[in-house]
Amino acid sequence: MPQIEIKSANAFYDKLHVLKNIELSVDRGEIVSLIGPSGSGKSSLLKMLVGLLIPKSGDVYLNKTLVNFNNQSDLRVIREQIAIVFQQYNLFQNMNVLKNVSIAPTKIQKRNPKEVNDQALFLLEKVGLKDKLESYPDELSGGQQQRVAIARALCLNPEILLLDEITSALDPELVKEVLDSIRLLAAEGMTMLIVSHEMSFVREVSSRVVFMDDGSIIEVNNPKNIFESPKEKRTLDFVGKILKDK
């Protein structure tokens, strides 16, 4: 059963047509990776799913329910179920690590502070940051900030996790620690949409891979096929170039 279903969605930044007739469905527990050149609309697609980019036309279904993007309560519902981790971490600069993770569950979801605190500590331990609870974002390395951002998203207890190029701003030696955290989640069966340039990682964790170019989905295929025998020429060009550069 598809958990997310996107039907011929179109979206714009001002006049720029960033998503063109997007058709995609993601099943529960699936890990779908989005690859493609920069500016191809991968991040925009994730932003649309949390209502940071409002589609101009097309339908999005979450658990078989049509989402009305102009309705605040609908937006609340999707944001409760879908959490996003941003490329630039977007940690709140005025809060320490623990507060960053616990503020939304306590203040927004109105959950029991004690319970949230325990969960936050558990998650931060899981991503290896238990000794940084009192630190502020600008005192942390990029990799540490990114792992806080992951813990923050998980503490919202989402059904679906969106990861937007979470390793692209990191030094190579930091990439591994972040990807290890994601592998753990994948093993637990969470539905994930991942935008990434780490092709070996994509190939390893994804159930399906989506190739996007110029705002459109060009090809959806399983990881093996997309890297070894893609159907579309544009996919072949992109994958060939990326693998050659490596």
Partner: protein
Amino acid sequence: MERLIEEIPNFFTIWNVIFLAKAMGVTFLLTAIGCIVGFSVGGLLAIFRKTKTIFLLPIRILIVIYTEIFRRIPFLVSLLLFFYVFQIIKISDDLFLIATITVCVIATAYIGEIIRSGIESINQTQWDAATAMNFTYYQTLKEIIFPQAWKVILPPAFGFFIMFIKDTALASQIGVMELTFAAKVLNNKGFSPLLSFGTILILYFILSFPLDRFGKYMEKKLASNRN
């Protein structure tokens, strides 16, 4: 110069000192009320200005017009305009009240602008993260934006407070008994302009300098904190 030395004992009589102290109090009060009101109302305007809903659009337009207008009229002209409007509508002829209202109206326009640019200095990523986690507009401002923006808002706000201590000198033109008016009174009583105006220059300096230093100190401290 000899005349000046002769004059000094006569100038600093108890009566004159009390008179100047009172005038200094009026200058201070005008500025303080203006800044407090300006900060509160200006803050509200800035908050409305950043809203996105379409049905608040008329309010946003009105706010833009208001801030643009009152930052482009000389304080003296605004003061006279309010003075004469009050004479027509006859609500009050209390000069201090008229001056205070003018100061508040202008302070609101300027401080609203300072607060707005403070809010805008915060990176869009902070808004995105908050929105994606279901923060309302108000919650985002309270929990995330203002705790970061005040560092950007305070230094220019102090510059503005100082500007207003000085600008209230113009209230003397409609007859408010503040420092500059007091100097004119003393001058008319026969004290030399050097002494009368020289004294209040020092008194203005006493009011303004601590704020100036404090503002600069904070600017330095906040700037070094950021890196």
